[in-house]
Amino acid sequence: MSTLLDVKQLASQRAGRTLFADLSFSLQAGAVLHIEGENGAGKSTLLRSLVGLVELQAGTIQFFPSEHGLAQEWRQHTLFMGHKSAVKAELTALENVALQAQLSGLTQVDAWQLLETVGLLGLEDLPAGQLSAGQQRRIALTRLWYSQAPLWILDEPFTALDTRGIDLLQQRFAQHIEAGGAIILTSHQALTWQPEQLQRLRIQGGEL
């Protein structure tokens, strides 16, 4: 198995407080990394610093096959989804999905198909602002169905989803892993699905 991500001696501070220090791990293709920790432990900060949204205090992040510094390269190989769903309330579900795909540079995306996959068919012409939080989340999650990125970094992907939604998402995870991808995620719920290679990483108040 090849290594997708290699993280060495990562350290981060937020508002002067050390969240984590000397954090090292590596991720193989086909593995799932579940990051655990209490509220405020720095899970989100860790994920955000992996994709360069938060400045690193120390440490190196190597994306296989490229160095973190080569911005163009790794951005194509990673997909990040944070707490916020980047769904426009004024646009309909269908428009949201289509424009989201186009923003990633893809023109050949069947938005109807995607909506059907995430179970939103029938709601396609409602403004997203009128949908529930879980439904908006599903709109955002359609990205997972066309993304070419091998590494997914997902911050609380199950938030607001019902059990069916969670199952659907985990099925998609399984496909991704099977295809040789890798996933880093944070979640307060335990995964109901057991991937073959599941790593756990616990962050708490500066120590590991």
Binding site: A15, G16, R17, E55
Partner: protein, 252 residues
């Protein structure tokens, strides 16, 4: 070059280095500026047209000169901070900007006070004064943005971008203000465009300019040290600077 600079890029090293230079800069400022001002006020001859009122020149010209170059140095620091990701260059903004703003204010105020006996009015929309006024606004903008963020580091970066945008704009602003001034036939303080100044006035002026340079350096160094401490307050090395507190901690 870069390798040589690197060891100095540690906040702790810079803090102590500045601490070593600061007394010299302060002494230089006090001494040179003192000599320059006494020379200018007491020994330089009176101007044949403006009488003794021209003596304002000994603070007006140096502060006006440095108000502009300090803004440029602000932008250079911001540029270094962005391109080489040197966080200390970002912090330097907080040290440099207030000094520049005060210099600009001094240039503006002395210009206006000088204008009263010359033009008969406290405020004239003269090209130079107007440019100074706009420069003051630019400084205030940078400072306001710097302190608007609760996270100091974000504030420093944002203010840096603004400073760079501002420095690109400065020549355009200057040119536009000059053009506007000629369009409206405003008054111009012509003291600088006269035939070369007599040496008896020029030398004290040059001394004052040098003194202001030292003064700016000393003020900026002092502020830079404070800024380093602020940003690094929770780092271990700061403990040695402030000393461990007496083991009181008893709650009354």
């Amino acid at each position: 070059m870069w390798r040589w600079l690197h060891p100095y890029a540690k906040p702790e090293t810079v803090y102590h280095l500045l601490g070593r230079w600061l007394p010299w800069a302060t002494a230089g400022a006090v001494l040179i500026l003192g000599i320059g001002l006494v020379w200018g006020l007491l020994f330089a001859p009176a101007d044949y047209q403006q009488g003794d009122s021209y003596r304002i020149i000994f603070i007006h010209v140096p502060s006006a000169m440095f108000s502009m170059s300090i803004y440029v140095s602000l932008a250079i620091a911001a540029f270094i901070g962005r391109v080489w990701q040197l966080k200390m260059a970002d912090w330097a903004l907080a040290a440099i900007a207030p000094v520049g703003a005060v210099f600009t204010f001094i240039a503006l105020f002395t210009g206006a006070v000088w204008g009263k006996p010359m033009w008969g009015t406290w405020w004239e929309w003269d090209a130079r004064l107007t440019s100074q006024l706009i420069l003051l606004f630019l400084y205030i903008g940078v400072l306001a943005l710097y302190y608007a963020f609760s996270d100091n580091r974000t504030g420093a970066k944002a203010a840096g971008i603004l400073a760079m945008v501002g420095v690109i704009n400065i020549p355009i602003i200057r040119y536009s203000v000059e053009w506007w001034n000629t369009l409206h036939q405003g008054a111009t303080l012509t003291v600088f465009e006269r035939p070369p100044m007599a040496n008896s006035m020029l030398f004290p002026l040059l001394t004052c300019i040098l003194g202001f340079a030292f003064l700016a350096a000393a003020l900026i160094m002092q502020r830079m040290r404070t800024e380093i401490l602020r940003q690094e307050l929770r780092r271990p090395w700061v403990k040695q600077v402030f000393g461990r507190p007496a083991a009181t901690g008893e709650r009354s």
